[in-house]
Symmetry: C2
Subunit: 503 residues, 2 copies
């Protein structure tokens, strides 16, 4: 059996492999604060690339950034009934604004500093942003408002997993207000499309675009749309959501305007967000048993140059070669910018150094020693396929952009193939159970994948799904209506939904 850099392997214990990939790639670690993580520089640089990519797409679709307060007055949460139900259960509550030493000199919240109204650390910002929009909107001329915010939010999670579900997380939240329902619905779908575009073309992660069923809607939304991806353990990950809020929030928050006929109307609003969870999605879509694999568009570095030498004479020759190669490569275009190159000249063993960059997922590694220089070339290794070969220097420089694009494309095609091979239609209860029931009690996470099933929502279906830890992911957008019968209840069904175990 081939030795792998990560223990356990994907097949042995996927959840544990995920943690070990994060550790080996130096992406993040748990902090001293329950459920909160420290995002380390290599992990942060990936998120920075995601932010830059998404931010460009938001601006290209006419949005501007702004910033709203971290705190939400408790009474604001209470304005929208469904919303409070969804978020009041899991939030950080600020009750005091000062500490004082007690009799033993230990700090305690100063009772004299208790707030009249507690403040909630934002779990999401519909309420505070809506209250602001209510001040900004008077006339139809003030609409649409197309604003995005990059921010941290807090939801008090009981079971956390780095990047995927943490108490504090980072995200962007778009909040828009429109004069008509049609325009708001169009915005909702446009941003879902932006998320799908970003997922497929930047993260190299195929996604299913769909609508959430009533039970899975955002609290307060009229309809919630989602992009769903398949991780390598065949579980689903909700990677982004876009909500059509109708007039629910504008009525709760009094966002109204005078239309062209001087009639007073409530605005139509939307919200949409993706989070640092996307870093987790990237990890679980591409990483293998040797650690992180990154799509080049998100990689902090595209190429690492590894100089090899045995004495000072060789060192000066090799480093001169490597430095000039770095400059040449960095002058080449790739995707929306230039090629990003690093040199690792640390004084550690070559094998250790090589594995260091394998585990950190750098797309291309180039070893360069005196023999390579004699041939005016490098010894190039590709992270995604493991391919290794000597490459002429001039050829490398000329093809570097194309090589990175090939890797990006290969990762997407590989993930797409994996997903499509693990997605099928299921029509009977027996087939459903066979698909989702673990074959091996030692590996309870391994199951069939995504199942397209006819369904009829109701307490019976909900209870059944809960028992088997299966969830309805979404009703796919690009599928025509196809009448059928619920696989469990036999009740009539207008359309299939995608069922899966999920993160």
């Amino acid at each position: 059996m081939a030795k792998t850099a990560i223990t356990p392997t994907r097949a042995d214990d996927y959840p544990e492999l995920y943690q070990q990939v994060i550790r080996a790639a130096d992406l993040a670690e748990n902090s001293d604060v329950r459920g909160c993580m420290v995002i380390k520089p290599w992990g942060w640089a990936i998120w920075e690339n995601m932010q830059r990519g998404l931010d460009g797409m938001f601006k290209a679709t006419g949005h501007e950034n702004a910033y709203f307060p971290l705190f939400i007055p408790l009474s604001f949460l209470q304005k929208e009934a469904d919303h409070v139900e969804g978020f009041a259960k899991e939030c950080a509550v600020v009750t005091h604004h000062r500490l004082v030493p007690n009799a033993e000199g230990k700090l305690i919240p100063d009772p004299a500093s208790q707030l009249e109204e507690p403040l909630i650390v934002r779990p999401t910002s519909e309420t505070i942003i809506g209250a602001t929009y209510a001040r900004w909107v008077q006339s139809y001329r003030d609409l649409p408002i197309l604003i995005n915010q990059w921010a941290n939010v807090v939801r008090w999670e009981m079971r956390t997993r780095m990047f995927i579900r943490t108490t504090e997380f980072l995200w962007q939240e778009g909040h828009t207000a429109h004069a008509t329902s049609e325009e708001a619905q169009e915005e909702t779908m446009k941003m879902l499309g932006v998320y799908a575009d970003f997922s497929e073309n930047w993260i190299a992660m195929p996604v299913i675009q769909g609508e959430k069923t009533a039970g899975e809607r955002f609290p307060g939304a009229v309809s919630t749309y989602t992009i769903e991806a398949m991780m390598q353990d065949r579980k689903a990950l909700q990677a982004g959501t876009s909500h059509f809020l109708g007039q629910n929030f504008s009525k709760a928050q009094d966002i109204k305007f005078q239309d062209q006929n001087s009639a007073i109307q409530y605005a139509w609003t939307t919200s949409w967000g993706v989070t640092t969870r996307l870093v987790g999605a990237m990890i679980m879509t591409h990483s293998d048993d040797d650690g992180l694999v990154m799509p080049p568009r998100l990689a902090p570095k595209h190429v690492v140059l590894l100089p090899i030498y045995r004495n000072d004479e060789e060192k000066s020759q090799v480093l001169a070669y490597v430095n000039s190669l770095k400059q040449e490569l960095e002058a080449q275009d790739y995707a929306e910018g230039k090629v990003r190159v690093m040199i690792d000249d640390r004084d550690i063993r070559g094998g250790e150094k090589n594995w260091y960059h394998v585990k950190r997922g750098v797309p291309l590694r180039a070893e360069i020693g005196p023999k390579d220089i004699a041939k005016n070339g490098v010894f190039l290794a590709r992270r995604d396929t493991g391919e290794k070969a000597g490459v002429d220097r001039g050829e490398l420089v000329a093809t570097i952009g194309k090589r990175l694009a090939d890797i990006q494309n290969n990762l997407f095609q590989r993930a797409l193939k994996m997903r499509d091979e693990n997605m099928r239609s299921i029509d009977t209860l027996d087939d459903f159970l066979a698909y989702f029931t673990p074959k091996n009690e030692d590996k309870p996470e391994i199951h069939g994948g995504f199942a397209r099933c006819h369904f009829s929502e109701g307490p019976d279906l909900n209870e059944f799904l809960k028992k088997h830890k299966v969830t309805i992911r979404c009703i796919e957008l690009d599928k025509a209506a196809e009448p059928g019968k619920c696989f469990l209840t036999g009740r009539p069904s207008a359309k299939r939904a995608v069922f899966a175990k999920a993160y």
Copy 2:
């Protein structure tokens, strides 16, 4: 008297003018949460430009970004004695993690969800980051750690002013750890230099680099360095600080390492930060009685094109001209990027539209109507000087980068002249009082400016300064020792300090 766009004028009521400039330029507004503001898109775009500029400088000096938790366990604050003294008085304390409805259906913090240990919303992150570094550092090979974080922080302020002092604010905080005191001190000064460079070359704001006196040090620091700028009301604004923390925090947090001789040593740490206050600094350094004036390097848009037409025929001609001009201008280089151009084709009166962009501080406005097109030119207005003239189109395109650089330079020179004209050495108590005592009781904010005085710290000086609302800003770095006598006490003094009223 000339009519101005902002009421009151700078001379009449500077603090009120500041608020009105922010309102007229649509930069920010107070939120529904006490002491917290909403940063609107035009204000946010300025901060985004500041972030981009600073982030590039941090990376160029070898720093990486990372992210640490929003919350700090209460016990962490208590580890460094001075630090807790400095920050425990003004912080948001999270005590519960759930809300429940009470008997009347009103939401209250669920008593069952009270946290065993309260969490503090970070007022600054030395303690939580130090605890992390303690895990990361074992050997001298793990040093230096050069990390920056972009984040929000909360300090419970009683008197707030938009951008200048708010309960929640945004900032970057650099936190570094080094093997030697010399290296940490070098880092402290290097980052002070980066701040001064950014202030002068991006914000066009001259700053004095100096060391804080003991009474003004960051709680827990060995020495605090500052950049101090003069606002147009001649008050000082602390624009950024860089702290040499010695081993105070590493001892409190157990950041230690094995050195090259296998001896265990405590690391030497630094921290440094600038905040959204810089937006306030920019506003108060350059704005005039007509509203915001922006240095081009920070302006979201450099040029606004204002098409003028009276009928559909003219409209199509003018818009075609304006669109092609926009493309040509946007292809030109300025500073680290391209020229940023917008077209304002809203259907509102020309005068109103013009003033809209004056108040928002766009560096150049170009009116373009059929007559201008006949001459193949534009009618160009410069925001900083008010100069207006017809300019040939080709000449405008060829000189746009230079014109923006001229504006940037003019703003800096103007601010420098203003500051230098309002800074002098003072050696006697009478002169000191004459300089800082308001001449006009109606305008208590107007005073002399910056005074360089010999001083001797002590309760008598502190009390005197407090009474007259004057503060010691810093001891200038580039001044040689010059023995003298304290202007108040007559005690011997080794060096002058800069005294000023301050924000």
